[in-house]
């Protein structure tokens, strides 16, 4: 039992989890300090709202989590390939636009219409995601610049196309008309909230992506090129094709996010069903970056991190009662991103300090109580070194996927691993004795 717990604690995803927690902690603390500076007497009450309000409004937390879950998946999926898809905003807007087009221009029966709109959003996002992919793969243009430029181009283009369409745009309200009822996503029927079927679709997609990443050849190749571009090319993987395909999938995911956002049945006026062309880049795309980073780019992690971000956003929107502004959450989110860029390093540094302290404490104890125990130590160290070196190929997911040869190796590794583990177990017993 202890052994299993130990292996969980030492696993990569656990370490990603703790470093995400560290980033969140620092982000919230700094957010609290900002609130203290702005309005000291209300800061604690507002902070409490940010932390706990979401629990009283779970339906809307899930509703607002859906679009950022999709953009988070879009960013995270591309991250696995080593691409930084900063263009989720543009893809999101394009998906939204295509869904609007299908909603206004197609006349389909209820039950099919919303599905078609969702698919249209998927296609829109795919198209917009493909462009940076093609630029990167064929022309060697950095995807960060391309996708930023296409955020602007996409936003301006969509706003302009909407304004020029008499069927969609209502000049008197400076926004589009409301979508027909048949294009609405089916609601899940939670009182006072707009939570709808899209959250279920989003979670299913996240699981599907997990399967693709961990159980298919494509996912394997993708991660391989993410780890080492040159090695994967040497192994005969088609990098050009994979880059474009990854960006198409990522774009499609973000596009779905846009479609889900615009097609949701709304209980909050203006939050969905209609679009206001004001030349502002969609914030949900950038929030997707935070979601992906917090979730360690893993599809399953993204599910939880998107719900968390949505949770503090709901809480943040409530702070306006106390004289704060919801933008405080954007501050917190960007600080979280800032710290998550190096929280792993920071956590290791903190961990090192702690282990050093721990060692010192142990040493002093040993020196005081059991002078002979220093006799055991060198052997101990060697064995733990040995264990680490055996452990390493095992940790490397790429090396142990899908491949027969590798599987054999893996088995061997596992055996040796178990042996060393037994040794260490015995040693622990010895020590206890």
């Amino acid at each position: 039992m202890l052994k299993r717990l130990n292996s969980v604690i030492k696993s990569k995803s656990f370490s990603a989890f703790t470093s995400a927690l560290l980033a969140i902690f620092l982000g919230l603390i700094i957010g609290y300090i900002v609130m203290l500076c702005a309005r000291p007497e209300k800061a604690s009450a507002a902070f409490e709202k940010i932390l706990f309000y979401g629990f009283t409004d779970l339906g809307n937390v899930l509703y607002f989590a859906t679009p950022i879950m999709m953009t988070g998946l879009a960013v995270g999926f591309a991250f696995k390939m080593g691409l930084f898809n900063i263009g989720a905003s543009g893809q999101y807007t394009m998906g939204m636009f295509f869904a609007l087009l299908a909603g206004f221009y197609l006349d389909l029966p209820k039950g099919i219409h919303w599905l078609v709109c969702v698919l249209a959003g998927l296609i829109g996002g795919m198209l917009w995601g493909m462009i940076p992919g093609v630029f990167k793969a064929l022309l060697n243009v950095n995807e960060v610049i391309t996708s930023i430029m296409f955020n602007y181009i996409g936003t301006y283009l969509v706003d302009m196309l909407i304004k020029s369409s008499a069927k969609m745009y209502v000049p008197t309200t400076t926004r589009t008309a409301y979508l027909p009822a048949s294009a609405q996503l089916p609601s899940l029927g939670v009182k006072n909230s707009s939570v709808n079927i899209s959250i279920i679709i989003a979670i299913c997609l996240a699981i599907l992506l997990f399967v693709i990443l961990h159980m298919t050849i494509f996912g394997y190749e993708l991660k391989a090129s993410g780890y080492n571009k040159h090695a994967s090319k040497y192994a005969g993987m088609n990098g050009t094709k994979n880059i474009i395909l990854t960006m198409i999938i990522a774009g499609g995911l973000a596009g779905l996010g846009g479609a889900f956002a615009i097609l949701a049945p709304s209980t909050i006026a203006g939050s969905s069903q209609t679009y206001e062309p004001i030349n502002v880049i969609a914030a949900n795309g950038f929030n997707g970056i935070a979601v992906a980073l917090l979730g360690n780019s893993s599809p399953i992690g993204v599910i939880f991190s998107s719900i968390f971000i949505s949770h503090i956003q709901r809480g943040g929107s409530q702070t306006s009662i106390l004289g704060f502004k919801p933008e405080i959450i954007d501050v917190v989110i960007s600080i979280i991103i800032y710290f998550s860029a190096f929280s792993l390093i920071m956590k290791n540094a903190i961990g090192r300090i702690f282990t050093k302290l721990h060692h010192k404490k142990l040493e002093s104890e040993q020196a005081g109580e059991k002078p002979h125990s220093s006799f055991v130590d060198p052997a101990d160290e060697i064995k733990s070194d040995l264990k680490e070196s055996v452990d390493m190929p095992n940790n490397n997911e790429v090396a142990s996927d899908n491949n027969n040869n590798n599987n054999q190796e893996k088995n061997i590794n596992n055996e040796t691993y178990d042996d060393t583990n037994k040794d260490t177990d015995n040693k622990v017993k010895e020590k206890e004795v």
Binding site: V34, A38, R39, F84, I86, F135, L139, N140, V141, N142, V144, I145, T146, I148, M149, F150, Y152, I153, Y156, L157, D159, M160, K163, S164, N279, V280, F286, I289, L293, G323, F324, K325, E327, I328, D330, V331, I333, S334, I335, I337, Y338, S340, A341, F342, I345, M346
Partner: protein
């Protein structure tokens, strides 16, 4: 001919903002740190500069003096903000692109929060006009007087001066050589006794100073003293990065690239004044996309043979070979 004068007079203030920010990016990237945060640094400089003008403009101080003071304040703001990037990128060895993105997101959020809580608005708008109708004595020179000394801003002369200084520092001083070495092969630089961390701090700091100044010039020359958290600097920090790549990380080429982009932007916003473009009868919104689309086309053709600094984006690790 009047149209040409008009276009040049309106291109220069835009170009100078792009030029300064791109030069800043050049110092940062040639020292080995990718500076995606230019957009955030610009906006921060612009906001602090405008805030300074907002508070000081009630006093009877000549406009151009306010301009110079605000410029220095903006530069200082940019410098301080850039420290967040250099600390994360150099000391903490963080992923520079992600840190830059976070810094870009932080500024608009802070501006909106601060302005909404204390000004009940999205940003700050200054009243002072820094516009120079004509420079006495020089404005009557034929052609040149009209191009450079009428309807202009102090910023373009400062920009020209900085371009010259930057070029000299970059190519003719020991500091410039060392900086460039750190971006190409930091291990080699370290082996001959150059402090790579300090050089990179200097590179990012210069990009902070120039980025902050460029942001203030943008706020003065392009948005008439308005800085808000919604539109920010409209992607100018990113355009400056494109200018940097198009200019192949070299100061003089960067100047031409900045002029090119600024000209396109000016063209996009003055369609109604140019008979030929007006007769095409295309919505002005199309032209607004022009600088961004042009960026993509230019990058598509130049990226294959791009000469990016070799060690760009890689945290310096002494133990690495």
């Amino acid at each position: 001919m009047d149209i040409v004068y008009y276009l040049v007079q309106n291109t220069l203030p835009v170009a100078v903002a792009l030029l300064l920010v791109a030069l800043g990016g050049m110092f940062s990237e040639r020292s080995g740190v990718i500076n995606i945060a230019l957009e955030g640094i610009m906006l921060f400089g612009a906001y602090i500069g405008c805030l300074f003008v907002y508070f000081i403009e009630k006093n009877p101080i000549p406009a151009q003096v306010i301009f110079l003071l605000a410029m220095l304040i903006a530069a200082l703001a940019g410098l301080i903000y850039s420290l967040l990037l250099s600390w994360a990128a150099i000391n903490m060895k963080a992923d520079q692109t992600i840190v830059g993105t976070a810094l870009n997101m932080l500024v608009p959020a802070v501006i909106l929060l601060f302005s909404k809580m204390f000004f009940m608005s999205d940003g700050v708008t200054t009243k002072t006009r820094f516009y120079i109708r004509e420079v006495k004595g020089l404005s009557n020179i034929p052609v040149i007087g009209k191009l450079f000394f009428q309807n202009t801003y102090l910023s373009i002369y400062i920009g020209g001066l900085i371009l010259i200084i930057a070029t000299i520092v970059f190519y003719k001083t020991r500091f410039g050589l060392r900086l460039r070495a750190c971006g190409e092969h930091p291990q080699a630089a370290d082996s001959v006794g150059i402090n790579v961390h300090r050089m990179r701090y200097a590179g990012v700091a210069i990009s902070g100073i120039l980025g902050g100044m460029g942001g203030f010039f943008y706020a003065v020359g392009v948005t008439d003293g308005n800085t808000n958290g919604h539109t920010g600097v409209a992607g100018f920090g990113f355009l400056a990065l494109a200018v940097l790549i198009f200019g192949q990380w070299k100061p003089i080429q960067i100047m031409f690239a900045a002029l090119f982009f600024a000209f396109l932007r000016t063209l996009a916003y003055s369609v109604a004044l140019i008979p030929f473009l007006k007769s095409l009868n295309i919505s002005q919104d199309y032209y607004k996309m022009l600088p961004y689309i042009a960026t993509m086309i230019v990058l598509a053709f130049t990226s294959k043979r791009s000469r990016a600094p070799k060690a760009e984006g890689i945290p310096y690790d002494k133990g690495m070979r």
